[in-house]
């Protein structure tokens, strides 16, 4: 019995219920949320260190044993993801202390935030494919409500696209689970993997694999199903945007990593070849889309898509080094992307707009913010010694070793275009003088922005830390990749030695 496996799910559920009870007391809700997300982060770190020391940990919920009961499983990938969810959840909670207005909080922001985190952590830790679907839905229900928090017209428009596409994805996911259950008679992922390893009808397995690919591809924002993302991510409150950017698509990526390393490895030449094409197309369309945008958060949204491409590239190459690169990329990306959204929120607070052409002169007026923007921006583009450099370096090296030259070419080109986009934001927001006619608009001013600076600075410090201390991070990613490429470790941990 390992308590730490369940804590990252139980803690947000508990604190979510608590904030619901404390509905009428705004201050109490805020304090509870900061404490709750902080405890969640601590429990996640505990889980990671326990998983690092003792290997894959399993908890049979309610003492119903696998494959019949529902298990929570923490392998290194899951534990890493939970830590990242903890970091972004905690950062969002602290950032919200200033950034959330009373009006938005009154729509139930804090309970929803906890519900979202519970769903995300549940998805990362569950070892049961139907339970994965349930956690996906928990997460989606919370995200629907968070997306329309405030109820403005643009939000509704974005939310309709988001909801529709995600419902299609959920329907496909559910059908695929049904087919898989019909084929294997089990829902436990380890058991499915075990049963499929001696199945003799590869055709239908590949069909099911493709259903999962489409379904998770929609959630991850992969080509050609990404369009819900830039349509919706720039509409909610910026703290919500940051949390979505950090976590939601990554749950899809995580699910792809899970099923395409554990379950669907029968016909790697076919399935992972498709993944590789998807990766290339995702990278390119994302970055080209960003090049055409002139709104801060829209640019960032399109960059999420192109970055998802890199992660899928790591999975698709399917060599040990490539998987390491993919996992490293996820770690780097969540921190950096959340931070860029947080910066955009602070810029909005100071200047009252997200439009690049209306912004300017921030380098002169807020040099500290300019530096704090540069760190994640350059990291995103892959400039050494920041975290993005090592993430890209590992992936490209893996591509070269696998002699997949064209994908290496695409990845390098996309890196260059990412730099172009970041320089565009830098030049427009920070460097050029602000056009006269937009200079004097009423804004919040800098009151209470200390908390925002603190959050952004903390996340930037993490980016620098991942860059300068790449070796230990690499080793964790390496061990995670080792577990992913040896599914028998996972299967034995869940089902016991047979």
């Amino acid at each position: 019995m390992r308590l730490e496996v369940a804590l990252p799910v139980i803690i947000p559920l508990f604190f979510g219920a608590l904030t619901l009870i404390l509905w009428r007391w705004r201050l109490a809700q805020r304090i509870t949320t900061v404490i709750g997300t902080g405890l969640m982060l601590l429990s996640a770190l505990w889980l990671l260190s326990a998983t690092w020391q003792d290997g894959i940990l399993v908890m049979h919920m309610g003492n119903w044993h696998a494959p019949f009961g529902i298990v929570l499983v923490s392998d290194l990938l899951g534990a890493i993801m939970v830590v990242l969810a903890g970091i972004s959840g905690f950062a969002t909670a602290v950032y919200s202390l200033t950034a959330m207005t009373k009006r938005h909080e009154a729509f139930g922001y804090y309970p929803l935030l906890h519900l979202l985190l519970a769903g995300v952590n549940g998805a990362f830790l569950t070892g049961d494919i139907f339970n994965l679907y349930v956690w996906f839905e928990v997460m989606l229900v919370a995200s629907f409500a968070l997306l329309i928090l405030g109820g403005e017209r643009a939000q509704m428009e974005g939310a309709i696209k988001y909801v529709t596409l995600n419902l299609v994805s959920s329907a496909l996911f559910l059908s695929a689970i049904g087919l898989l259950y019909g084929l294997t008679g089990t829902l436990n992922m380890a058991d499915i993997a075990d049963k499929l390893s001696y199945a003799d009808n590869p055709g239908i397995i590949t069909v099911i694999a493709m259903l999962f690919l489409v379904s998770f591809g929609i959630k991850a924002g992969a080509f050609p199903f990404f369009f819900w993302l830039p349509a919706s991510y720039h509409t909610p409150q910026v703290a919500v945007s940051a949390l979505f950017a950090a976590l939601l698509t990554k749950v899809g990526v995580y699910a792809l990593f899970r099923v395409f390393t554990l379950i669907f490895t029968q016909d790697v030449d076919y399935t992972h070849e498709i993944l590789l094409w998807v990766a290339a197309a995702t990278m390119l369309t994302g970055v080209l889309g960003a090049a055409a945008q002139f709104e801060f958060r829209r640019i960032l949204s399109f960059h999420i898509i192109s970055q998802i491409g890199y992660m899928i590239m790591g999975l698709a190459l399917f060599t040990p080094l490539a998987i390491v690169g993919g996992v490293f990329y996820i770690m780097h990306h969540i921190i950096v992307k959340a931070n860029l959204f947080l910066v955009s929120g602070l810029v909005y607070r100071l200047k009252g707009t997200y439009e690049l052409k209306e912004l300017g002169g921030m380098y002169r007026s807020h040099p500290m913010l300019a530096i704090l923007f540069l760190i994640p921006a350059l990291s995103l583009a892959g400039i050494p010694p920041l975290s993005g450099f090592f993430a890209k370096f590992i992936l490209i090296r893996a591509g070269v070793e696998a002699e997949a030259w064209w994908i290496v070419g695409v990845a390098l080109l996309v890196g260059l275009l990412t730099l172009y986009s970041m320089i565009k934001i830098w030049a427009e927001v920070f460097w050029k003088a602000q056009p006269e006619e937009y200079a004097n608009r009423p804004v919040h001013g800098s009151a209470g922005s200390g908390v925002l600076y603190l959050t952004i600075g903390g996340m930037a410090a993490l980016t620098v830390f991942i860059g300068l201390g790449a070796e230990p991070i690499y080793q964790i990613a390496d061990a995670a990749a080792h577990q992913l490429l040896n599914p028998s470790l996972y299967i034995d941990a869940v089902l016991g030695e047979r």
Binding site: I10, F14, A17, L20, I21, G62
Partner: protein, 145 residues
């Protein structure tokens, strides 16, 4: 007093006063019966919520709220909290979360009584369902007002 929601029926209004306690008692019966026989927190919560809803239709929203005494949202929160807490005792017994813990009591009048964490979980579900259904119903009724 909203005209749309007051069905001006003397019969309904009179029976609602009797039906409300009966339905609530029945819902508790269903709740307690739940674990091994048909029943349980979900269906019991629906019965209790429909009792209040019937009262609302027979009289009006304000009396329904008065009868409920609690904010539906608070019921929702407490229910969720009970649900989560019901998983915790197992941990102190060195078992995984949500493993059922049972306590057998022999009481003088009632005889043998089995109490356990699943009952707490069911009470949680009961409150969540009442809270959830009535939150929706009362909000809709108020919007109509």
């Amino acid at each position: 007093m909203s005209p749309q929601f007051t069905l001006q029926s003397l019969i309904l209004r009179t029976t609602a006063h009797f039906l409300l306690p009966l339905l609530l008692v029945f819902s508790v019966f269903l709740l307690l019966r739940g674990h091994d026989e048909p029943g349980g927190g979900f269906i019991a919560g629906l019965v209790a919520a429909s009792a209040v809803a019937l009262y609302m239709f027979a009289l009006d929203i304000h009396s329904a709220k008065r009868v409920l005494r609690f904010e539906p949202r608070d019921l929702l929160g407490w229910g969720l909290l009970f649900g989560v807490i019901s998983g915790v005792p197992a941990v102190f017994m060195g078992q995984p979360f949500f493993t059922s813990q049972w306590l057998e009591l022999t009481l003088p009048v009632l005889g043998e009584l089995k109490v356990g964490t699943p009952l707490l979980f069911d009470i949680g579900v009961y409150l969540v369902v009442i809270g959830g259904v009535l939150l929706i119903l009362l909000s809709l009724a108020e919007a109509e007002d």
